[in-house]
């Protein structure tokens, strides 16, 4: 066993095998960044782009929307959960967004609509999106990064920050 690359394929295979469990939502829209991401000089936190992800009217309860934030190399998911959660935005306080790269080894996670978790195909870690991305079981040593959201008067949803370091980066904005 040289490396764990085989897990990528297993992950895909299991994703199909366990398809009944994972409500793999169709990608509604993959939104391109609205402005160029750039690194800033030393600040308390780095400067994030403010990117429009979707409009409140676009979202349906428990149907995940694929997003990219803060740039196209960083996949994420935008969710309307149907009930108000801590950190949720929008008229119902139920809209949240997370990175989908597992903060263990960076496999792209799928959304499980049955128990509202992000599931890693690589090594089976699970994160609760109703509890701010709390790891409920797994190998990661941080919770999944949550994107900071803002909703404007028109109902447009913007991502403007991130709670934790995104997998595969030494700085959230490259």
């Amino acid at each position: 066993m040289k490396r764990c690359k085989g897990m990528v394929d297993v992950g895909r295979r299991q994703f199909l095998r366990g398809g009944a469990m994972a409500t793999a939502g169709a990608a509604v829209a993959a939104v391109a960044p609205a402005q160029e991401a750039k690194a800033a000089p030393a600040l308390a936190q780095i400067d994030y782009p403010s990117n429009r992800l979707a409009n409140v009217a676009d979202l349906k309860v428990n149907e995940p929307v694929d997003i990219e934030y803060p740039d196209a190399d960083s996949p994420g998911v935008l969710l309307k959960l149907g009930q108000s959660v801590e950190g949720g935005v929008g008229p119902d306080g139920d809209i949240v967004a997370f990175s989908t790269l597992c903060p263990h080894k960076g496999f792209n996670m799928s959304y499980n609509g049955e128990d509202h978790t992000l599931n890693c195909p690589g090594h089976f870690s699970r994160f609760d999106v109703e509890a701010g991305g709390q790891q409920t079981w797994g190998h990661a040593t941080s919770n999944v990064p949550q994107f900071t959201l803002r909703v404007d008067d028109k109902g447009d949803i913007y991502a403007e920050g991130c709670s934790d370091l995104i997998y595969g980066r030494m700085s959230n904005v490259l």
Binding site: C4, G6, H123, T141, N143, Q146, D164
Partner: protein, 686 residues
């Protein structure tokens, strides 16, 4: 709500950062990590850094990434330095995988800058005026030696109680187990002692050893090439994480079937089903404590169908009936397969009834373990077990019954085989003989509870949290220790001699003088009179071996916290003070037994101990072997490399029992129900 670190970037290690080999000290698997350290005021760039990758780019899955838990600022040679401890892609144990334990090594280091692990002990402390007062090593060790020497000289070594770790990983390692072993088993002959996790000084898996089979006999790679993985009473996905992910999972991907015997369905079973498919996984949710019956039924079915390895049995196992008779110190007879079958023979129906599993499932397990392939070739099976049976009902016979199956099917010493405990901590045992302890060993806790002993040395153990009948143990130890505390309080302001006399009077009235060596102020430490601060792995160089006997040197990359020291140098200090004090008492002959402790570093302790028995092995050679190290036993040194042994007993000769014929023994594992008093009633009420 989830904890948010609010960290969105990390410093970049410069290309000239120092790189240290690290073996994770948390569990037996011993994953390889690299520790990078560099000065506080330096940093690399995205293009030019210690990782050698372009950090302007998003890294892929399994790529180079540093979780904030892998970062800290620590002291090195008295200066603050950045520290990153990152999984090593090139280590064959974990291939770059981290676990929730090892991936937090950096943030679990004490730091005066980030304020992590501020509960670590910094100074020796002595009970003085009703509190623990920080003091010097000289002062603390002098008191320890004066009380200990006076008691031993007057009343004998049986009055000294010792609790000591016997393992690798943090605290232990070959350096520290040797030092404590030399002190208590060579300079002294202490018999009232116990190991960190059991109330006696004995093996957890006697029967396997008595049968000739050391319990760590395979290579982790055996999981990758086997036909069947048979796990009993263990949960490796959670507790030996990267053994499961990096060796068992590839084994299943290569077609191995997976059997789990456990009363509960665990995440390990779930993951195995995800990887191998439900049709290739069998979980036997057995009635707790009945494993022996299942193993006996499996053995019976395998023997009756002729799925045994006749050649292996003839050449490598004992043939003459009974070899060792059952008696009060020997929980089961040992001998030939035929001899064992006289008591092990169990029908499928009996086993199904007692174990609460179906006959069909027992047959399927037997077939997966031993039924030859369609082309007639033998099946390979790795058997792994842990606390579910080690600390379970009638454990001597139960483990014996399991090893029986591996021996009968010729699955020890061969590629794709092995019959091993999965283990908790790493191993690092090198001590003088413990034969004087005797067998059965003193039931330590009961001895202490009944008032035995006058002085108690505790090395990195916290029995208040972990021992059997911990509540009673705690109640009695606290009462006995408080008698000494009161005596010390009453002697406040007097001379050292008056203090020692007061302590001796108190222990003679039933009290106990307690010395605690630990990295933190533990629960049992609340009742200590002297507390000595130890350091951890990587605050010292430390050698240990993992569950496939892979020996590595985990390198020092930071200073011991405060005045703390490696345990081996604390033992060295106790011995030197014992020698000095005994000389002062005019007991020169006894004092001379404490000569031979002039170590300045942990490497000196390693050379004094492990190296003497394994002359090929030195720090320098281990450092060169890096995170892949060498699998013990080391059999040579050629072309700049240590030569190891991938698996034990490859020559079919079994020696763990010490028998000259080198034949393995089978265990007469006759079922006798729940062996411990009250267990049957407890099970019925459950």
């Amino acid at each position: 709500m989830a904890y948010k670190r609010q960290i969105d970037r990390l410093p970049i290690p410069p290309a000239d950062a120092k790189v240290h080999n690290v073996t994770c000290h948390y569990c037996i698997v011993g994953c390889g990590y690299k520790a990078y350290t560099w000065p506080r005021n330096k940093q690399g760039t995205p293009e030019n850094n210690a990782f050698g990758v372009n950090l302007n780019e998003q890294q892929g899955a399994m790529g180079t990434w540093v979780n904030p838990s892998m970062y800290n600022i620590v002291k090195q040679d008295g200066k603050d330095v950045h520290l990153m401890v990152v999984p090593d892609d090139d280590c064959v144990v974990n291939s770059g995988l981290g676990s929730i334990r090892g991936a937090r090594m950096a943030e679990n280091r004490p730091s005066e800058i980030t304020l992590t692990q501020q509960q670590r002990l910094t100074d020796p402390m002595v009970w003085r005026n009703g509190v623990w007062q920080p003091t010097s090593w000289d002062d603390a060790l002098d008191l320890v030696a004066r009380v200990t020497a006076k008691i031993l000289a007057e009343y004998g070594e049986d009055e000294l109680l010792v609790s000591m770790f016997d393992h690798g990983g943090s605290a232990g390692g070959y350096e520290n187990t040797w030092a404590t072993g030399k002190l208590y088993f060579q300079s002294m002959k202490v018999k009232n002692c116990r190991i960190h996790n059991r109330p006696g000084y004995n093996s957890e898996v006697h029967s396997s050893r008595d049968m000739g089979v050391g319990e760590l006999n395979y290579s982790y790679s055996d999981y990758e090439v086997t036909d069947t993985i048979f796990v009993v009473g263990a949960n490796p996905m959670e507790t030996q994480t990267n053994l499961f992910l990096n060796h068992m999972v590839p084994g299943m991907q290569n077609g191995a079937k997976f059997i789990m015997v456990d009363p509960r369905r665990t995440v390990t079973v779930n993951a195995a089903e995800e990887v191998a498919g439900k049709e290739n996984v069998l979980h036997l949710a057995i009635t707790p404590g009945t494993d022996m019956v299942l193993f006996n039924a499996l053995l019976t079915h395998i023997v009756d169908n002729g799925w045994i390895d006749k050649e292996f049995i003839a050449n490598s196992t004992f043939q003459g009936g009974e070899a060792v008779a059952e008696d009060s110190g020997q929980p089961a007879g040992l001998g030939s397969l035929d001899y064992a079958m006289e008591t092990c023979r169990t029908s499928l129906g009996e086993a199904a009834e007692i174990c609460g599993v179906s006959k069909d499932d027992i047959v399927k397990v037997a077939e997966w373990i031993a039924k030859p392939h369609d082309d007639g070739s033998r099946r390979k099976c790795v058997t792994a077990y842990e606390k579910g049976i080690i600390w379970g009902n009638d454990n001597y016979r139960t483990i014996g019954a399991l090893v029986n199956i591996s021996l009968a099917t010729g699955n020890i010493g061969r590629e794709g085989g092995g019959c091993c405990r999965l283990g908790g901590h790493q191993e690092g045992y090198y001590r003088p003989s413990d034969a004087h302890v005797g067998r059965p060993a003193t039931y330590f806790d009961r001895h202490l509870i009944r008032g035995g002993g006058k002085v108690y040395h505790i090395w990195a153990c916290d029995h208040y949290k972990t021992t059997l009948n911990a509540a009673e143990f705690k109640r009695v130890l606290k009462k006995r220790a408080d008698m000494v505390k009161e005596a010390m309080d009453a002697a406040a302001g007097g001379t050292r001699e008056e203090l020692v006399d007061a302590i001796v009077a108190a222990v003679n009235a039933g009290g106990l003088f307690v010395v605690d060596m630990d990295i933190i102020h533990s629960q049992i430490g609340q009742n200590a009179h002297v507390i000595l601060p130890a350091c951890e792995a990587n605050e010292m160089n430390l050698t240990s071996m993992n569950g496939e006997r892979r020996l590595r040197l985990s390198e020092k990359y930071m200073d011991p916290y405060g005045q703390s020291k490696p345990d081996c140098l604390i033992a060295d200090g106790i011995a030197q003070n014992m020698e000095r004090v005994l000389n002062e008492m005019g007991n020169d002959e006894y004092a001379d037994q404490f000569k031979g402790y002039d170590w300045e570093t942990e490497e000196d302790a390693f050379m004094d101990g492990y190296h003497q028995g394994n002359p090929e092995v030195t720090y320098e050679r281990l450092r060169a072997m890096g995170n892949n190290g060498v699998q013990e036993p080391v059999v040579g040194y050629e072309n700049g490399k240590l030569i190891g042994t991938p698996r034990l007993y490859a020559d079919g000769k079994f020696d763990r029992h010490g028998r000259e014929d080198k034949k393995a023994l089978f265990c007469a594992a006759q079922w006798r129900g729940y062996a411990a008093e009250g267990k049957a009633r407890e099970a019925a009420n459950h």
